[in-house]
């Protein structure tokens, strides 16, 4: 599904991402962890062809992302609020995204009615533009707009960061369901080690732009990660 070759990004002489090789197979659920500045978001942006790498390339389904648009048909992503059109109401935004995938309004409405629990009554028919929603609620809009596209590949950057505990648990079960039952490939970054080891069956640990660990999740993964991040405890 995803193949990365010799990917490198340099800002002002500092290498911020350096991934010689990485392969993620279809149906995998991959978590990306690492401290601030490890290069997670930069890696995401290069995978989505938003920034130009110094060297190397990213292939989705065997096709280079740079210069091609085919991957947009099956990839849904939410990195930050910059992905949302903030002067639209959430409904208008969902209709717009649905329309891009040739979905009728009725179809979108139908889909949204199934999201009632996740929205917790905070999003739809509130008479607010997206810019007037809280950060957590904006995140809900972003995540749901991804789900609406029924993607084969889902990329989320720190989706658990701003949402409330109930929504965190709902999001986890949604992500698991997508992966296990619909075969969606997940790529999720997070600072919450509990959530990420719970949702993902493979963890990539980044440090200063390099993937230093690539582990299949097991019962010992959480403590292994805690040992890495808890610098002073060991």
């Amino acid at each position: 599904m995803i193949e990365i070759k010799d990917l490198k990004k340099v800002y002002a002489g500092v290498t911020v991402v350096n991934v010689p090789h990485l392969e993620i197979r279809k149906g995998e659920s991959v978590g990306l962890v690492g401290n601030n500045g490890a290069g997670k978001t930069t890696l995401f942006r290069m995978m989505l062809d938003l920034i130009r790498p110094e060297t190397g390339e990213v292939l989705l389904n065997g096709e280079v992302v740079a210069g091609h648009e085919n991957w947009k048909n099956y990839t849904a992503s939410y990195l930050d609020e910059g992905f949302l059109i903030d002067y639209l109401t959430p409904e208008e935004y969902f209709y717009f995204i649905g329309g891009l995938h040739q979905q009728s309004r009725a179809h979108v409405d139908d889909f949204l009615s199934g999201m009632g629990d996740f929205f917790n009554g905070e999003i739809l028919k509130k008479g607010k533009y997206i810019r007037d929603l809280s950060k957590g609620n904006q995140c809900k809009v972003g995540v749901v707009s991804c789900l609406l596209q029924s993607p084969e590949l889902l990329m989320l950057d720190e989706p658990f960061a701003n949402i409330d505990p109930s929504t965190q648990f709902r999001l986890k079960s949604i992500l698991k369901d997508l992966n296990k039952n619909k075969g969606v490939t997940n790529l999720i970054s997070s600072h919450d080690l509990n959530h990420i080891t719970d949702v993902c069956d493979r963890i990539l640990l980044m440090e200063k732009g390099v993937i230093i660990k690539d582990i299949a999740t097991s019962s010992s993964t959480l403590s292994e990660l805690e040992a890495y991040f808890g610098v002073e405890q060991g």
Binding site: R45, E69, K72, S77, F96, L100, G127, Y129
Partner: protein
């Protein structure tokens, strides 16, 4: 404490992305502001001559005293529109161990640092020194200057007080503006009252009784104190901010655009962008003001056909020029989202063309009443309308590919230089010259008709070759997209 605030303020000014980026713009802006100041200064210096011409039968000092209050009324109206509230900047200090009093004092004090407080001095003081001082002596002149200072301070704080109040209730702004306009109308149209007489009533007495100068000073101090108290009681983010309490926002759709599929959706989104954000909305409204352009040019026979091309282009294409010059910065805040979503760039461009065509058609229809000045005018408007949606749209989009500056949509357009770069200046050159390159040679040889026809033909050719231009623009965009997206990510 105040000095720390001031040093932070200076840093904020010098380090802001707005001011710091381009030296060229700062120099050009500096020259522009200097030129404006110079103009007012010249106006101030020749105020006696101007007053002499305007009110030939009146005594010079009487006329002068008469206009002061009129100035301050219009000044108040201007301030209500344009003056910024010096507010949100205190946000980072609110939770720190800083005395509320010093915060409020600082806020109230910095409110004085506005260009608006400079105008009355430049405008009136030269006259006071030239005429009043020689006529009635230094003490009277001093009294005039003191009362001008007092009224300026009073106006400054009154405007801010009204603005703060109207943040909580939008009606206050409308009512106050309405009252000011009503006062103006009842003088100049209905002749019910005479502001000039009222103004003279005070300033006339000032000549005999310089002590009266303390009245405006007292008013100014009172208004300052009122502001101070109000701020002190309401030092909360909600009340300070310029964000108005929001009403229910409903979803809209434009059935007319639905038939264009996803291109129509994109154009619809952009119409919502324009209508729902402050800066883009003011760009549109400014465009509407340009509809009166014709009244200036067509009523004056000095301006021949050459000017009509210019006027016609501006009136039918003002939106393309005014809004298009900042493309795609308007969408800077969600540009990443557009890039990763299933929007092909050619659709994105087609939506721009659609938007330009729809709005320009609207503006062309608005100019049809100018047929009153002759059918030729309407014909030229139509030709320039075709030129606009043919040539200028493509030109503007070509420059849009070279625009890397982010725009914050929530700020007003007046005196807002965010997003301005060398790009806009360069763009204006081909925009203004291109029609004349085609038209002028024929007009000079006495075949203006052929020139006009060629303009129309060029426009039509461009409209019919849009597909080709879209392909070119798309290819061009792919070489610049990373740079554009990166620029837009820089807040």
């Amino acid at each position: 404490m105040i000095s720390t605030f001031l040093s932070h303020e200076l840093k904020a000014f010098w380090r802001s992305k707005n001011t710091g980026k381009s030296i060229v713009i700062r120099v050009v802006m500096g020259i522009f502001i200097f030129y404006l100041l110079l103009n007012v200064l010249v106006l101030g210096f020749f105020l006696d001559k101007i007053l002499d011409k305007t009110f030939p039968r009146e005594d010079l000092v009487v006329a002068f005293c008469g206009i002061i209050l009129i100035y301050y009324l219009s000044d108040l109206l201007m301030r209500l529109q344009l003056q910024d509230l010096p507010t949100l900047r205190v946000q980072p200090y609110l939770q720190l161990p800083v005395k509320r009093n010093s915060l409020v004092k600082y806020l109230a004090f910095t409110a004085l640092l506005s260009v608006f407080n400079l105008w009355p001095f430049i405008l009136f003081v030269p006259f006071v020194l030239k005429i009043v001082a020689t006529d009635s002596g230094g003490l009277t002149a001093l009294a005039f200057i003191v009362s001008i200072a007092g009224l300026t301070v009073f106006n400054n704080y009154l405007a801010l007080y009204i603005k703060r109040k109207s943040n909580l209730n939008g009606w206050i702004f409308l009512i106050v503006s309405g009252v000011i306009i009503l006062v103006g109308v009842s003088d100049f149209y209905w002749h019910l009252i005479s502001i000039r007489k009222i103004s003279y009533l005070f300033f006339g007495h000032l000549i005999n009784q310089p002590l009266f100068a303390l009245v405006p000073v007292l008013l100014g101090v009172l208004m300052y104190y009122l502001n101070f108290l109000y701020l002190k009681q309401n030092l909360y983010l909600e009340e300070l901010g310029s964000r108005k309490a929001s009403s229910y926002k409903s979803s809209t759709e434009y059935p007319l655009l639905n038939r264009f599929g996803s291109v129509g959706d994109l154009a619809g989104n952009e119409i919502k962008l324009i209508l729902r954000n402050k800066r883009s909305r003011s760009a549109l409204i400014m465009g509407l003001f340009f509809m009166f352009y014709g009244l200036i040019f067509y009523t004056n026979h000095l301006y021949g056909e050459g000017w009509r091309i210019f006027v016609g282009m501006f009136m039918t294409g003002i939106f393309i020029i005014n809004y298009g010059q900042f493309m795609f910065s308007w969408q800077a805040s969600h540009f990443d989202g557009l890039l990763v979503s299933k929007v092909s760039f050619s659709d994105f461009l087609k939506a721009k063309y659609l938007l330009f065509t729809v709005v320009s058609t609207g503006f062309f229809l608005l100019t049809t009443p100018y047929v009153y000045f002759g059918w030729q005018i309407l014909l030229i408007h139509f030709i320039m309308y075709v030129w606009n949606i043919g040539v200028n749209t493509t030109l503007v989009l070509f420059f849009a590919n070279r625009n890397y500056k982010r725009i914050d949509l929530s700020k007003g357009a007046a005196f807002n230089w965010e997003g301005v770069s060398g790009n806009q200046w360069i763009l204006s050159i081909p925009l203004l010259l291109a029609p004349y390159v085609i038209y002028a040679p024929f007009a000079l040889l006495g075949h203006a008709g052929i020139g006009l026809a060629l303009l129309a033909i060029t426009g039509i050719v461009f409209i019919f070759t849009r597909g080709f231009w879209i392909k070119q623009l798309e290819a061009d965009f792919y070489t610049k997209r990373y740079k554009i997206a990166e620029g837009f990510r820089n807040k």
